[in-house]
Amino acid sequence: MKRIGQQSRRDFLKTAAALGLSATAAPYMVHSAFAQETPKKGGTLRIGMRGGSTTDTLNPTSYSNAVPLLVGYAVMNGLIEIDEKGVPQPELFESWEIGAEAKEWVFNVRKGVTFHNGKEMTAADVLYSLSLHTGKDSKSPAAGGLKHISEIQKLGTHQIKIVLSSSDVDLHYALADYHLLVVPEGFTDWAKPVGTGAFTVESFDPGVRCVLSNAGNYWKSGRGNVERIEITVVNDIVQRMNALVAGQVDVINDVDKRAVDLFRAAPGIELVQAPGGWHTIMAMQSDVAPFNNPDFRLALKYACDREQILNALFNGFGRIGNDHPIPVSDPFFNAALPQRAFDLDKAKFHLKKSGLVDTTITLSASDAAYVGAVDMSVLFQASAAKAGLTIDVKKEPHDGFWSNVWLKAPFCTSYWAGRASATDMLASAYYSGASWNETHWKNETFDQLLAAAKAEVDEAKRKTIIGDMQTMLSDDGGALIPVFSDWLDAHRSHVKGHTPHTQFDLANGRLCEKVWLDA
């Protein structure tokens, strides 16, 4: 769950979230109802996906792209599954109990689940699979979320205990990370992973294609329905949409929001839209002049026309941000905090108060952050100019942006894809000691509140604490967060069971086992 280099950027992070939140009033058919019909068995599903590279592998400690993530969940199972409402549900962990101060957790491992090689899955396999990530020289992106684990004990053949060095009531969210997949003890042949999932890998050509076939007798009832799955990597957004329209694939992810009208002319295509935690950031380093001036930060925040950015760059498929990273789909979202408006008078007021009227600042922008980051910067430049703020947009090279510009330039474009739990999101980017504290914002009260939120078992109290932290970030923090963007997939109408998920596209990567075909 990290964010430097490739991993981080593609770390499609997660957000606990309640569905049922109204989607944008987009005039398109949006598939959201849960399929009530009984799933049919069989058939071949063809997926055209963004998010594959020739450098991909199927080793779960290496996943940084959407394709290996999807294949991983098809072949293997996680410990805990986050459901559509953002609530952790049992998977290979059947049940759990939180001990005193949320420092000791006991998990019961599901019985009667067998690997593709016929071996029964037990606590020993779980321990081995976790050790791949928690080990000392682990390169796993999941390691960051698990670093407070001080000990993992095997209590029985189907029970383990996790001891933490600091309280964490959200440990089960961290254990739902998509890297934490279970393989047999001692397993190392990552070219052909063996798991407990619904499918086995028939062939895997990195960055090109992957073929999966049904392993039979899947332990989850109603899932693992299709016989064969062909995943084709189609990184070009236009071609992904063409392939769906032409019927060469049945499902695609990452629909071009600005070109979604293309689908109107094509019958039998449905969109799958889900609000989520993916958000754009313009990060100001709040210990560097002039961004160390809180009024100057506020002036910039008021001078950003968020509605314009949402409509122009995301075609309205999203919602505007309030300068903190918690999305409206998160149960801990602070709904009482007023939305910051585009207000030139307030921007001018705070600019004057800061005493920095004639300052020119440089915004380092690159579409490496996300496609549209440069356009967004230019829109912001224009709206800020109306408040008397002069911004130079410096277009940074695509290549090397994350190692040479991000965390180094005092004001730059960036993004986060959200996290499964609000506390994890806040800890990853806003805790004063976080290595990805891109805004250099440090606040002792905030750090204390974060620790309190992680130890607080009472939901209502946690909600107040996390709400206060959002207010602090919105009013004082160094992140200008204009927009949260929705996940947007599309499929042909005979594809069923492809439901919206607030965490990530393609049903949070579990499309393969959930889907069925209505021939």
Binding site: G5, Q7, D137
Partner: protein, 315 residues
Amino acid sequence: MLNLVLKRAALGLITLWAASVLIFAGTQILPGDLAQAVLQNNATPENVAALREELGLDRPAVERYAEWLGNAVHGDLGTSLVNHRDVAQDLAPRLYNTFFLALYAAIIAIPLSVGLGVLAAAWQGSAFDSAANAVTLLAISLPEYFLGYLLIKWVAVQWGLFPVLASVTPETSFTERLYMTFLPMLTLVLVIMAHIMRMTRASVISVMSSPYIEMAVLKGLAKWRVVVEHALPNALAPIINVVALNLAYLIVGVVVIEVVFVYPGLGQSMVDAVSKRDVPVVQACGLIFAAVFISLNMIADILAIVSNPRLRHPR
């Protein structure tokens, strides 16, 4: 003549060697430390130092270059830093795909455009001449991806004649492969046709104004014999050169087409590898591309020597 050819071949080898130096140097100055890029979020100073040692980055560049070149000459292109697979083995099917598409496009494009060029020269100034010029110039003026999108929009999506994606696999049969790669092939044909056609036309026309052609016309030869038997052989050298340049383009310059049609060629590998700092793969692709480019140019020069009587029989 043999002397000339040998000289040209030696020159080619020297150029290839120079290219290998440039490739190696180029991958050394990519922004960002290699060990750091590979380790990404785990780049603690100790890990970086350990990996630098493992990769031999602590040794002098000249020593590493010599070792790399020595291995490459023996066909050992190293191991990918990212997925730890053998580079040569990983690239072989992609290289085959790249050559397949290039050859497919060349077999259609070269006779077609040379033919059109000869006809345009023979009927210089006619409606056919203007039309052929206009169409090929239009095709070359459009960016290749746009041309690809247009073909996809009409031929694939609207009429459903050919597939949108050319995602071939090693199991794809030969005929199936011809069908699946039809649109990328057609795009490439349109892109290279203008060059070859116009060069052929210009070259033939310039020969047509020489006295010996006039002689041939005056002695009453049929027009097609004048053009094909007398003019064309003497116009060949520049045509061979432009054909070689376009062949090289078909192999080393089609990454955009590969991306648009989701065709698993070598270019896509190289782009992915550069962004992940997978240096052995970048170097291997660079070396292959350089070798192709240099050999095609060399062959073109040698053919030009062979086709030119004055060079063939120097006084």
